[in-house]
């Protein structure tokens, strides 16, 4: 097959450039070389996209937060909108001195920023960007994501311990407690779409979603969203770095590019969670005409992903930080029991409705989700009321004691 520029451009629009090139070169170049080069190119494209998009995300986040707080935000560097501000920031970070604190464990201290970025990038391997386009279509895609995200916990400990700083270590302990706790409701919330789709492959879950799962199991989507916020350590769960309490958490001792690596991993991780939410609950690349023109699928996917990212930023600009006991109570006493009940309900409904039309199953699931959600809300309301009346009683008792002491003193 001869090279043809029109067909080449067409293959780019269809997002199958490498398939086309391997057809063109089929006779001349050995196939393992083509496969190897296309694999490496795919890895490079995904990684470079992620590393570059962070520059935009920083600008986006600062601008939105500024708007929410009635400020203008960055507006000097790079024209009217301050678009080049993150580039300037990155240049500044690169020129900073690379400090290693005295008494630091050098291996752990230098390994942590590497692991944290590599783990954040590796998770993108299974995200389906468009029909048929993903790094690799693993049959254990969701499980793979959970496995890699558990590795990034290790990096936090290495950073906290290696820094030889008590605040860094405290921050690392907090991070581990929070990440390990919130992994539980997150994994169990992800189990529900897996039950519905009957596969753990991310591409498979997207294909199964003729109705977006956010409309079928909204409770699962909500629980996943909350635990994703906590996993990322974003407001209102940003106790990990809580500037006013422990300065900056586990990365307090890092400077220059090493600090930038943690920053980078945080933004890549947030965008990844948005992509995962899109894939699992918002139908991924699904949209009109996406199957014929994969590039439209890519467009829909990006649109949904950035919308979810905007939700993350919006919440950051709106809610105050929770306390550590509130954080753990919310997790273990509310989210985990709720998601366990939800798994039971969903499994029962999808088994009893087996063979029924899809929209009927979806309607029953939606209804059961709403009922369960309302029950949970009612439970929270009662619990809060009880807590409040108890604390009022305590205050009353203290007041009577005070008056008694006063009267005895008067006698």
């Amino acid at each position: 097959m001869a090279f043809d520029i029109v067909q080449f451009l067409e293959s780019i629009v269809k997002l199958e450039m490498f398939d086309y090139l391997s057809k063109v070169w089929a006779g001349d170049v050995p196939s393992w070389l083509i496969n190897g080069v296309s694999d490496i190119a795919g890895v490079l494209i995904i990684c470079t996209f992620n590393l570059l998009i962070v520059l935009f995300l920083i600008w986006f986040e600062r601008k939105i937060i500024a708007r929410i707080q009635d400020r203008i935000g960055p507006n000097r560097v790079g024209g009217r909108y301050g678009l080049l501000q993150p580039v300037a920031d990155a240049m500044k970070l690169m020129t900073k001195e690379d400090l290693t604190p005295a008494g630091a464990d050098k291996i752990a201290f230098n390994l942590a920023p590497l692991i944290v970025v590599v783990a954040a990038l590796m998770m993108w391997a299974v995200i389906p960007f468009a029909p048929g386009v993903s790094g690799t279509n693993l049959n254990v895609g969701v499980f793979y994501i959970l496995a890699i995200s558990s590795v990034s916990v290790v990096a936090l400990i290495l950073a906290g311990w290696g820094s030889n700083n008590k605040y860094a270590l405290l921050g690392a302990f907090r991070s581990v407690a929070q990440l390990v706790s919130y992994e539980v409701p997150m994994i169990m919330a992800l189990l529900i779409p897996i039950i519905l789709a009957g596969t753990m492959s991310t591409q498979g879950i997207v294909i199964q979603q003729s109705i977006w799962y956010v409309f079928v199991v909204p409770l699962s989507a909500l629980i996943f969203f909350i635990s994703a916020l906590a996993e990322l350590g974003r407001t209102p769960f940003d106790l990990l770095e809580a500037e006013s309490e422990i300065v900056a958490g586990y990365h307090i001792e890092y400077s220059g590019m090493k600090f930038a690596m943690f920053f980078l991993a945080e933004f890549i991780g947030t965008l990844f969670m948005a992509a995962l939410f899109t894939t699992i609950y918002l139908g991924g690349w699904r949209g009109p005409g996406a199957v014929q023109y994969p590039i439209l699928g890519l467009f829909y996917f990006s649109l949904k992903m950035f919308f979810v990212y905007f939700l993350f930023v919006w919440i950051r600009g709106t809610l105050p930080r929770v306390r550590i006991d509130q954080l753990l109570n919310l997790n273990w006493k509310f989210l985990v029991p709720l998601v366990l009940a939800l798994i039971l309900v969903v499994a029962l409904v999808s088994k009893t409705m087996e063979g029924a039309e899809e929209w009927k199953t979806a309607a029953v699931l939606l209804l059961s989700n709403l009922i369960l959600g309302l029950l949970a809300l009612d439970f929270i309301r009662r619990y809060a009321r009880q807590q409040r009346s108890e604390s009022e009683e305590v205050v009353e008792v203290e007041e009577t004691i005070d008056t008694q002491t006063v009267t005895t003193a008067a006698h």
Binding site: D105, A108, N139, V140, A147, I148, S150, W161
Partner: protein, 177 residues
């Protein structure tokens, strides 16, 4: 004999696994030993991936690196004096140990080559992609089907549940009344 890419990858991953395992037992700094242990676990996960066992590899990462290594690191952090050990990790029996290991290795090699002679060994069987795709489903069904592994699975579940309840009972603050 030509060396395929897979063999090269296998040699690299095995080297990582073995060298970091060597560091685990020889490094005096326990924290560094724990890091090397993680690298060794990761190498084993790489071997699983090479065998097309994605589920096993992910489990390996999740359980060994995500849970057990963190537990080990916390245990090391709680016992800080262990970090400053000065005594050698070898004892006086190391010469005899090497001899024993060598003999065991020769025994294994002889056994393997007797059982599967090299000329009849046809390389790993090619598993069809369909089987691989269904392997997680097969695994799940095997765990809950009556004629396969449902009894060990349930026994393990009950054991874990008992351990969970036990942990809660131990961690509970005593009643103030």
């Amino acid at each position: 004999m030509t060396i395929t890419i897979q063999q090269v990858v296998f040699i690299i991953i095995s080297a990582i696994t073995l060298i970091s395992a060597w560091i685990v037992v020889t490094d005096r700094n326990l924290f560094h030993a724990a890091i090397a242990l993680m690298a060794s676990f990761a190498g084993v996960a790489g071997l699983y991936i090479l065998l097309d066992a994605g589920f096993l590899a992910a489990s390996q990462l999740l359980v060994y690196i995500g849970a057990i290594s963190i537990l080990i690191i916390f245990a090391i952090m709680m016992t800080r004096r262990l970090m400053q050990t000065t005594e050698s990790p070898y004892n006086s029996q190391w010469r005899w140990g090497i001899l024993g290991a060598l003999l065991a290795f020769i025994l294994l090699a002889v056994l393997i080559f007797q059982t599967w002679p090299a000329d009849t060994f046809a390389g790993p069987a090619i598993v069809s992609p369909a089987t691989l795709r269904g392997s997680v489903t097969d695994l799940g069904e095997a765990l809950v089907s009556v004629d396969q592994f449902v009894l060990p699975f349930e026994v393990a579940s009950v054991l874990l549940l008992a351990a969970l309840v036990g942990a809660i009972v131990i961690a509970r603050p005593e009643d103030s009344q």
